[in-house]
């Protein structure tokens, strides 16, 4: 399996995602400059968190025109691999129309960085297959524009097709509709979430629950048994 972590000018979680894929899971991973158009090499395209282009206009509003994002529809159509957008990556995917809905400023109008509880709503996807339905994960959020909004019709469709993968549990930190924290597209190959799984992949930083999502992706994309944790501070042995 070969993963690509996209680097926009202003990405700031690119190295964090790279570290999890490459150093913790031992997956071949490339930092992919935003001007690249050829995605045929990669089984996973990860759009990381950050402030692409400074996000001065609206989060993701300019990044959607980046060559790498322009190449995504074809990548998705050909079912070449999976696409995961985390935080700013999720915002870019909605701006580009690759995921439904939009991410508006948090209801309190402020940036929020804290650990939140998520409930796994659908465990039958390549992204969540190592979770149980109803399982609670604790992951950090860090965003100013994370309030998921969509038309009533879109929300109904998301529910009907079981495209909602994570909901905020107990506390809805940003005022998202239906407490939505993560969704996928209708093809089940594009996934976006506001919380940061890459920030909780080791016991040193929490319970390490975020690693399940990356392991699930690796399992879905690698023929044969799931990959072994190669780094000394993975979930299995953390200090």
């Amino acid at each position: 399996m070969h993963a690509a972590v996209v680097v926009f000018p202003g990405s700031n979680c690119d190295l964090d995602a790279y570290y999890v894929l490459k150093d913790l899971l031992g997956i071949e991973t490339t930092l992919l400059w935003y001007r690249e158009r050829d995605l045929s090499e990669y089984d996973l395209i990860l759009l990381p968190g950050g402030f692409a282009y400074g996000d001065y206009l609206r989060a993701g509003a300019i990044a959607r025109f980046a060559p790498v994002v322009q190449a995504l529809p074809e990548y998705i159509e050909k079912q070449r691999g999976l696409v995961l957008g985390i935080c700013n990556g999720f915002q870019v995917l909605t701006e580009a129309g690759l995921l439904p809905g939009a991410l508006a400023p948090n209801i309190n109008r402020r940036f929020i960085c804290k650990s939140v509880k998520l409930r796994v709503e659908n465990a039958y996807t390549p992204f969540t297959q190592l979770c149980r339905e109803g399982e609670l994960l604790e992951l950090p959020i860090a965003h100013g524009e994370g309030r998921y909004i969509a038309s009533e019709e879109t929300i109904e469709r998301l529910k009907r097709n079981r495209q909602i993968l994570f909901r905020y549990y107990e506390e809805n930190p940003n005022g998202s509709l239906e407490s939505i924290a993560g969704i996928m597209d209708e093809t089940g190959t594009v996934f976006g979430m506001m919380p940061h799984p890459e920030r909780n992949c080791e016991r040193l930083l929490g319970l390490g629950e975020g690693l399940k999502i990356f392991q699930a992706l690796a399992q879905a994309l690698t023929p044969g048994p799931s990959p072994v944790i190669t780094h000394g501070r993975g979930v299995a042995q953390a200090g």
Binding site: P9, G10, N12, C13, L15, D16, Y19, D23, G49, G50, F51, Y53, G54, D55, Y56, R110, F111, I112, C113, K114, P140, A142, G144, H196, E198, R199, C201, E202, L204, L205, G239
Partner: protein, 757 residues
């Protein structure tokens, strides 16, 4: 206008103008006056403070770079080095809180970057005027008297603006804000303090310097374009804040964190090229100060072609271009012939990059415009020529009436009526926990991204210091930042000692060994003898404490003129300190971990309440005598805490540790309960007076140990002759004392609602 009058309008004194004429052998032209005014400003030259700074120890076995560069550097382990520095952005933040604070963050980040290091953490120490009180949850408890005149609202507006500015820059740029401190005191109402510390990490071989060398080597200007913002910012920061601060707004720069982020990535890429000679951030003074500083370090001269500088505004004069403080710019010195490689990197990241000059043999800073020299000044005259102001610090005997309320310990104040009725320790504790200075700062730190870069093992609000892992290594870095101005107001010498000790304690609580200091000295106008005296005393106290711990000061900043017509700030030394934890597995948590654990107080077991938050909240008194710190005891306490905390590679004997600071013993005990909601049964009948429970005397920790460690614990304390006493047992969900109890939940509610904007 005469040249002298023009010089005075530039903030230069008649004596300074005379010196300039002597150094040049002629009168300076207007552009040269501009260069001198910035280089010789207090902010850039430290002219009033440098004789005090000489008192601070700066050497040590880990020191790779002490004061004099953009930041200090200490060697860690496995060739890793830590780069760190603190800087103030007080004046701009008082005028324009959002941009003032944001650019403060940007500036200190680039100081770290100038050493070749990736910035890994930010901390902020903030001081504001008192806030209007926030109600208790469910409306319980009576409110302190109103502040009047809308001052509380002004302080709240400044707080909101500063926090939003720090969040705006720090979050976007992807550096976690992991710690710091915030206090509220009337003295900071007009002149808030915004001190920011940045920490960077690099391998020893990657270390860079802010130097220009090699005649014919090229000078590059990279990053953003040069505009008219922030002209004379450094001069502005070297005056009192008088009159309508609105007029000063054009002196405040505007930050662009996106460009700042690109500049970090491009510069770290450029640092990989061997042709890079040196680099420096354009901070205060812009192109009028950074190039001559680089030339001075390299003992060379520099020539700049003004028309090569890319501009963002039309028709800028050479004067405006040189004095602009536009943000997100850096100067590089690179080997002649390699410039295209560098330009390519910066342009790939979408940044401006241009060759603007060269290193020359004559040690002058020469400004050329279309081939013609329009200013030329000896580099040493600019960088080192400023005469020291003549004011002498008066002796303390002349100023003893200024040392706060003499002898006002609680027992002498008690006849005074408390301004708030105290109905036993439970209500008192709740009220103290609800004071904005002591209460939770969650409202602030949840607006800062503190988990990006995935190294934050202990983040803000969780302990006395933050803890950062280094990926792939066993060791970890502990970082802390703070300082109590009230103590320095009451007794600057003792306050200086305590500022250092407090930072040491914060690191020891986590289990880390303190290894080095950066500081920011925030004071009022130094031409005031009292201010100068307090500066002298504070620095002496800091030096004394640092010597006792054998800790070097490797970088720092001085911010003077922090006053208005109405108010002077308290003398406020902010100490930033780095600690090394040999094995991250051995970190010690702050909170109670398990029921049945034994609770001990170690260090100085009794003392006075002078300067305490308790006196302020309940008696409206900023006063009292500060108990002098016993530095011999502090040295033993340091060794004890290192041994208990797992130095020497053994598992810690401690289950938790917390230093006692603002609020005293009971506040520290309550804070230990918040992490897991655990309480304690306390046995301290003899300490149950107000003074014992809420006094703020120094040199104390509260620790818990599992019962089986008791004899090993006692052996270490006895062998190093450090006093200790049993306080009680961790148990239940209540804090229990003298047959009265209060739930940890109730205390937590008071604590969490202290700052609820």
């Amino acid at each position: 206008m005469t040249k002298l009058a023009l010089a005075q309008r530039h903030g230069l004194s008649a004596r300074e103008f005379q010196t300039i004429c002597e150094l040049l052998g002629r009168e300076p032209n207007e552009l040269e006056l501009g260069l001198f005014s910035l280089n010789w400003s207090e902010h850039c030259s430290y002219k009033s403070s440098k004789r005090f700074l000489k008192l601070l120890p700066t050497t040590g076995k880990r020191v790779l770079q002490g004061p004099g560069e953009n930041a200090g550097v200490l060697e860690l382990e496995n060739n890793w080095c830590v780069v760190f520095k603190v800087e103030s952005h007080n004046h701009p933040s008082a005028v324009e809180p959002f941009n003032g604070a944001a650019t403060g963050v940007g500036g200190i980040i680039r100081d770290i970057l100038s050493m070749g290091a990736r910035p890994i953490a930010l901390l902020d120490s903030l001081r504001f005027g008192d806030l209007s009180p926030f109600p208790f949850p469910k409306g319980k408890g009576s409110s302190p008297p109103s502040l009047g005149e809308g001052l509380g609202e002004r302080s709240q507006r400044l707080l909101e603006g500063v926090v939003a500015g720090i969040a705006h820059y720090g979050n976007c740029i992807g550096i976690p804000t992991v710690g710091g401190d915030i206090c509220f005191e009337e003295a900071y109402t007009d002149n808030c303090l915004v001190n920011t510390m940045c920490v960077g990490l690099l391998k020893k071989s990657e270390l860079k310097r802010a130097v220009a060398q090699g005649v014919g080597n090229r000078i590059l200007l990279v990053g953003a374009r040069t505009g008219r913002d922030g002209i004379h910012g450094a001069t502005f920061a070297s005056e009192d804040l008088l009159g309508e601060t609105e007029e000063k707004r054009p002196n405040v720069q505007v930050g662009d964190p996106f460009t700042g982020k690109l500049l970090i990535e491009a510069t770290l890429e450029a640092c990989q090229l061997s042709e890079l000679i040196g680099l420096q951030d354009l901070g205060a003074g812009g192109l009028s100060t950074a190039p001559p500083e680089m030339a001075a370090r390299g003992e060379v001269g520099m020539a700049i072609d003004i028309e090569e500088i890319p501009l963002r505004a039309e028709k800028m004069t050479p004067y405006e271009i040189l004095l602009s403080e536009s943000q997100e710019r850096m100067v590089l010195c690179v080997k002649d012939g390699s410039e295209q490689k560098f330009l390519k990197i910066y342009r790939k990241w979408g940044l401006e990059a241009d060759v603007i000059g060269e290193v020359i043999r004559e040690r002058v800073y020469r400004i050329r415009h279309e081939g013609r020299t329009i200013a030329e000044v000896p580099v040493r005259a600019l960088v080192e020529g400023v005469p020291e102001p003549r004011a002498e610090a008066p002796g303390s005997e002349d100023l003893s009436p200024l040392k706060g309320a003499e002898g006002a310990c609680l027992s002498t104040l008690l006849p005074a009526q408390p301004v708030t009725s105290v109905t036993g320790w439970r209500e008192a504790l709740k009220k103290l926990l609800h004071s904005p200075t002591i209460g939770s700062k969650r409202w602030v730190y949840e607006q800062y991204d503190h988990t990006v870069q995935t190294n934050t093992v202990i983040g803000p609000g969780a302990h006395d210091a933050a803890l950062l892992r280094v990926k792939g290594e066993r060791f970890a870095l502990a970082v802390t930042m703070g300082g109590n101005g009230r103590y320095c107001f009451l007794d600057p010498y003792e306050g200086g000692i305590r500022a250092v000790c407090e930072a040491v304690h914060n690191l020891l609580s986590v289990g880390a060994e303190p290894i080095g200091i950066t500081d920011c000295l925030n004071f009022a106008n130094p031409t005031d003898p009292e201010v100068l005296w307090s500066l002298d005393q504070t620095v002496r106290g800091m030096a004394q404490a640092a010597q006792a711990f054998e800790l070097p000061f490797v970088s720092g900043n001085v911010s003077l003129y922090n006053q208005s017509e109405r108010r002077k700030i308290y003398p406020t030394p902010i100490v930033g300190m780095i600690g090394l934890l040999t094995d991250i597995v051995h970190r010690v948590p702050m909170g109670f971990q398990r029921e049945g654990d034994l609770l001990y107080l170690i260090g100085k077991l009794s003392g006075k309440s002078g300067g305490s938050e308790y006196l302020k909240v309940f008696y409206n008194v900023i006063g009292g005598e500060l108990e002098p710190t016993d530095l011999e005891l502090e040295r033993r306490l340091l060794r004890v805490m290192l041994l208990l905390g797992g130095a020497n590679g053994r598992s810690p004997l401690l289950r938790s540790a917390h230093d006692i600071s603002e609020g005293g013993l009971l506040v520290a005990l309550a804070e230990k309960g918040f992490a897991r909601g655990l309480g304690a049964k306390l046995e301290l009948d003899d300490l149950s007076e107000e003074e014992g429970l809420f006094g703020e005397w120094p040199s104390r920790f509260i620790v818990t140990i599992p019962p089986e460690n008791k004899s090993a614990f006692q052996e270490i304390l006895n062998s190093l002759d450090v006093p200790y006493r049993f306080l009680g047992t961790v148990s239940g969900r209540q804090l229990e004392l003298n047959g009265q109890e209060i739930s940890v939940e109730e205390l937590r509610n008071a604590y969490e609602s202290a700052l609820n904007l």
